[in-house]
């Protein structure tokens, strides 16, 4: 079956003015990326060099949910470390020795910078170099910053992946690289769709293990699976790789457009494309139609969180029949989310960064049917009678590509359906 693609809206939102307000932000810092990255990269350990707050944050963000010993930890800075920096480097060596002796299965060690280690200017790249020499070839040591003064939430993944790019071996093979940490089930679906079109070889960054053959070079083209990978994008281009701009693979339309950008690059003919995508596209449309019944005609308001907001607003407005009131993102990289902006109808306020109190005022005044926000705001907004969707689930749950398109719509419709379902007035 062939369905007409939805036509681009005249102009789209790419050139719309963006509201920027400076004030208190209500976002996680980049350290939280570790929570999903440490499950994704099976031989990696993430060592945050930070304070008790960092350790507490990771634990709270992980929700005391991890049953196995986590492959992340914090080297907590103490008074003595703050006194002299030479000491801190030696202390760090000690902690790493201790760690690697305990966890002999670790092949990649990330030293992760935090707010305090940034402020005292602890040189982690020097430490990483020194340790790489010391532990080579069994362990590779890299560093990146997940600090809250530099990064928000998903930027931690960006910083991590970007730190891996410069040490990738050079390859001249013509290849496709998919960039972004996805749940395994979703990643396999993407690779299988593209393989069926005859595209090969397909590589994935981050690879599940460091011993997987992954190189980069002038003949590499890459597609981002997540919109928050700006630094990784730049790092890959510096290595000669070329980006395939496309809308992000959320919903039927986004997934099709994303696949098509890759198919065009690899000169996949229209018939093959149709053969591979027709069935899953039809399934996705059907699933979305079912799951989005409750969303049709409803309004939505995005607080900035994961940088997924613009592609999601595009999906929800075009495929689920919602109206966007405000689409807030922590950062808007037009070179990356441009194709999504082009497809997003004009109307919503686009905002970048945040003054949370002012944004809450706008949200309460608009009384959207659904508000997408971080965990800190969700219950207070529910108490005001506003249905909310925790943004964090969009990062942890499989939501990409055709087979998950219905689930993605379902994530948003559940709170709306729930609000309709409950008859608590009499009980209150």
């Amino acid at each position: 079956m062939t369905e007409l693609p939805r036509l681009p809206v005249s102009g789209g939102c790419r050139d719309e003015p963006i509201l920027k307000q400076r004030g208190q932000r209500e976002v996680f810092c980049g350290l939280t990326g570790i929570i999903w990255l440490h499950r994704k990269m099976q031989d990696a350990f993430f060592l945050v060099i930070g304070s008790r707050t960092c350790a507490h944050l990771l634990q709270s963000a992980a929700g005391v949910m991890i049953f196995a010993e986590p492959r992340f930890g914090t080297a907590i800075l103490e008074e003595t470390d703050l006194a002299g920096l030479a000491d801190a480097q030696a202390e760090l060596d000690k902690v790493v020795d201790q760690l690697l002796a305990r966890r002999t299965d670790i092949k990649q060690l990330f030293l992760v910078g935090s707010c305090p280690s940034e402020v005292i200017k602890l040189d982690l790249s020097r430490a990483a170099e020194r340790m790489t020499e010391r532990y080579a070839p069994s362990v590779r040591v890299l560093n990146f910053s997940g600090s809250g003064i530099e990064t928000t939430f998903t930027q931690g993944e960006d910083a991590c992946l970007a730190s891996m790019v410069p040490v990738l071996p050079k390859t001249d093979t013509r290849q496709l690289m998919l960039v972004g940490a996805l749940p395994d089930v979703v990643e396999e679906q993407a690779v299988s769709l593209l393989s069926e079109m005859g595209i090969s070889p397909i590589k994935v960054l981050p690879a599940p293990r460091s011993d997987i053959d992954l190189g980069v070079g002038d003949n590499t083209v890459f597609a981002l699976t997540q919109p928050f990978l700006g630094d990784t994008h730049a790092a890959l281009e510096r290595r000669g790789a070329r980006h395939l701009p496309a809308p992000f693979p959320f919903g039927e339309e986004g997934t099709t457009a994303w696949l098509r950008a890759i198919a065009d690059e690899f000169e996949v003919d229209a018939e093959t494309f149709e053969r591979v995508t027709a069935a899953p596209r039809a399934r996705a449309r059907k699933a979305i139609a079912q799951a989005s019944e409750a969303l049709n005609g409803k309004s939505i308001f995005f607080f900035p969180d994961s940088q997924l907001e613009i592609p999601l607003a595009r999906f929800l407005t075009r495929e689920c029949g919602m109206t966007a009131i405000e689409v807030g993102a922590p950062f808007i990289h037009k070179s990356i989310v441009g194709p999504d902006l082009d497809m997003l109808a004009q109307g919503p306020t686009l905002s970048e960064g945040q003054d949370v109190d002012l944004q809450l005022d706008r949200c309460r005044a608009a009384r959207p049917d659904l508000t997408v926000c971080g965990l800190g705001l969700a219950n207070p907004l529910e108490a005001d009678g506003l249905a909310t969707k925790w943004a964090i689930e969009l990062v942890f749950t499989p939501v990409h590509f055709f087979e998950q398109a219905g689930d993605l719509a379902g994530l948003f419709s559940r709170p709306v359906r729930r609000a309709d379902l409950l008859k608590l007035e009499a009980a209150e």
């Binding site: 208190q24 932000r25 976002v27 996680f28 810092c29 980049g30 939280t32 060099i49 304070s51 008790r52 707050t53 350790a55 507490h56 944050l57 634990q59 709270s60 963000a61 005391v64 991890i66 049953f67 196995a68 010993e69 986590p70 992340f72 930890g73 914090t74 080297a75 907590i76 800075l77 103490e78 008074e79 470390d81 703050l82 801190a88 760090l92 000690k94 902690v95 305990r102 966890r103 002999t104 299965d105 707010c115 305090p116 940034e118 402020v119 005292i120 600090s147 809250g148 003064i149 530099e150 928000t152 109190d357 965990l375 800190g376 705001l377 969700a378 219950n379 207070p380 529910e382 108490a383």
Partner: protein
């Protein structure tokens, strides 16, 4: 530098947030980078509060460093005052802001805010969450409470409960009613439920009930000295402790001791024949000092358990807990190192852990049941039902909570009797576990530990078969005991005899 995987306590400014969030009409301006706002979700998600914590973060970023973080603080303070119009403000810095040395307290002083502004000095790199809560409450009380005429009726303040506290909400209700039965009214509950105006009239009470020494002892001592209010030293968790607490209150106030124990069930439940199986169960206790100390008494004297170890993560309680442990013939473990706690539990092989959410993880890994007795808290520690730890109802709640993770008495006997029944096999699992078998979690493959015994004995087939006849919920222990016994005796092959020799060796 200290390597940490899990922590028992957050940083001290989270302690200050627990005080501020419990209160009304108080606002906290925290000089902190944007990432520190994660702390909000502790209150809105874990505790399911319907309001954001009353905290404004200055949210400085890298580009602000070295230029105008101080101005950012001042603007945030003014904005917060204008927007929230609090009765009083507290100001402080988080760990990163402490490094940039902007001195929030000093800056606030120069700004003519028309309500009291209380500066907090919370050294992030030396101290932790409980200290932060204790110090913040103390500073608020010191700044606002004044000596005044006592209330006509004998009254007390309940001090110590905070936001995110382990069952603090329900303990307040239980104690209020217990004291009311004695004819004593509650003047102020603080910090939780109080406003700065309430703090100002704390001096009207005749004495203070120190509910949680962790979070209010410094304030209690100050009020004893400056406001002439004695405070209670006994924490009424457990039957014996509640009775002693009533006596202590009677001594302080001169009123007749009275305790309505018509709803008290723990003593009879403990004596009832079904509880026979609790006899001498070996328990390990870990948590904050106060809850562990009270739990030890309940475990030994009111449940008939054997306390095989105890410890706390807050150093402030090290001294009393060490002394107490000595009375119980064990050595106290004072540590905030999760891995060390795990090692001790592994070595002691208790039959139950009474611990925190962290020990629940350890218990899961080692296959030891665990009941939670103390913070750090988790969303399940805020049940919808009334579930105090203190007083009469608290004792009842504790009996249920502790017995629950153990297989019930009669059910245990039945499992023995019918262990060959096709529905009673290992895979079926006990009925109270929801009908699905305890499957080996894929996630639970820990790293190969370096301390694997090199001289591990080999199980002979007959012994392995005999081992399978032992009910699954004690089989793990039987296996470990036998192996330990074998290595003790230098036996390299485990036969059926070794199995039973070990059983006899460890029999109690």
């Amino acid at each position: 530098m200290k390597l940490t995987v899990w922590t028992y306590e957050g940083p001290p400014h989270v302690g200050a947030m627990r005080v501020a969030t419990g209160m009304k009409g108080l606002h906290y301006v925290l000089h902190a980078p944007q990432g520190d706002t994660y702390a909000d979700l502790l209150f809105t998600m874990i505790e399911r509060r319907d309001h954001r914590p009353p905290v404004t973060y200055t949210t400085f970023q890298a580009r602000d460093l070295g230029s105008d973080t101080a101005n950012l603080f001042k603007t945030s303070l003014l904005d917060a005052y204008e927007r929230f119009k609090p009765e009083a403000l507290i100001v402080g810095a988080s760990c990163t802001a402490e490094l940039i040395q902007d001195d929030p307290g000093g800056m606030a002083e120069t700004m003519d805010i028309p309500v009291p502004v209380i500066p907090l000095e919370l050294p992030s790199y030396q101290r932790k969450e409980n200290f932060g809560a204790d110090e913040t409450f103390f500073q608020i009380v010191r700044a606002l409470a004044k000596p005044m005429e006592r209330t006509a009726q004998i009254s007390c303040n309940l001090i110590g409960p905070t936001a995110l506290g382990f069952r603090h909400r329900d303990d307040i209700t239980e104690l209020t009613s217990l004291l009311s039965d004695m004819g004593i009214s509650v003047n102020v509950v603080a910090p939780m439920t109080s406003s700065p105006t309430d703090i100002k009239r704390m001096g009207a009470a005749h004495f203070n009930v120190l509910m949680y020494p962790e979070t209010a002892e410094t304030a209690a001592r100050w009020m004893e000295r400056e406001l002439g209010q004695p405070f209670t030293k006994i924490v009424p968790i457990g039957v014996g402790a509640t009775r002693d607490f009533v006596k202590e209150v009677a001594e302080i106030t001169g009123v007749k001791p009275y305790l309505d124990d018509s709803r008290l069930r723990l003593p009879w439940y403990s004596k009832s024949v079904d509880s026979t199986y609790l006899t001498g169960k070996r328990v390990f206790l870990f948590g904050d000092g106060t809850h562990v100390a009270t739990a030890a008494r309940i475990a030994r004297d009111e449940m008939g358990f054997e306390v095989v170890g105890m410890g706390c993560y807050n150093r402030e309680m090290a001294r009393p807990l060490r002394a107490l442990a000595k009375e119980y013939g064990v050595e106290a473990l004072i540590s905030d190192d999760y891995l060390e706690v795990e090692r001790v539990i592994e070595a002691l092989q208790p039959e139950m852990i009474l611990g925190t959410q962290m020990e629940r993880h350890i218990g899961k890994r080692l296959g030891i049941p665990c009941a939670v007795i103390s913070a750090p808290v988790h969303v399940q520690d805020f049940p919808a039902r009334y579930s105090p730890q203190m007083g009469i109802e608290g004792a009842n709640v504790i009996f249920d909570t502790w017995v629950h993770p153990l297989v019930m008495g009669l059910e245990e006997h039945l499992l023995h009797m019918f262990r060959d029944d096709f529905e009673f096999n290992d895979a079926a699992g006990p009925s109270h576990h929801g009908g699905h078998a305890a499957k080996p979690a894929a996630d639970q493959t820990p790293a190969p530990e370096t301390n694997t015994p090199v001289d591990a004995a080999i199980w002979l087939e007959a012994a392995e078969k005999e081992l399978k006849k032992i009910p699954f919920f004690v089989r793990g222990k039987a296996r470990r005991n036998t192996e330990t016994y074998a290595s003790l005796k230098g036996v390299s092959e485990i036969s059926v005899d070794t199995l039973y020799e070990a059983k006899a060796h460890y029999a109690r």
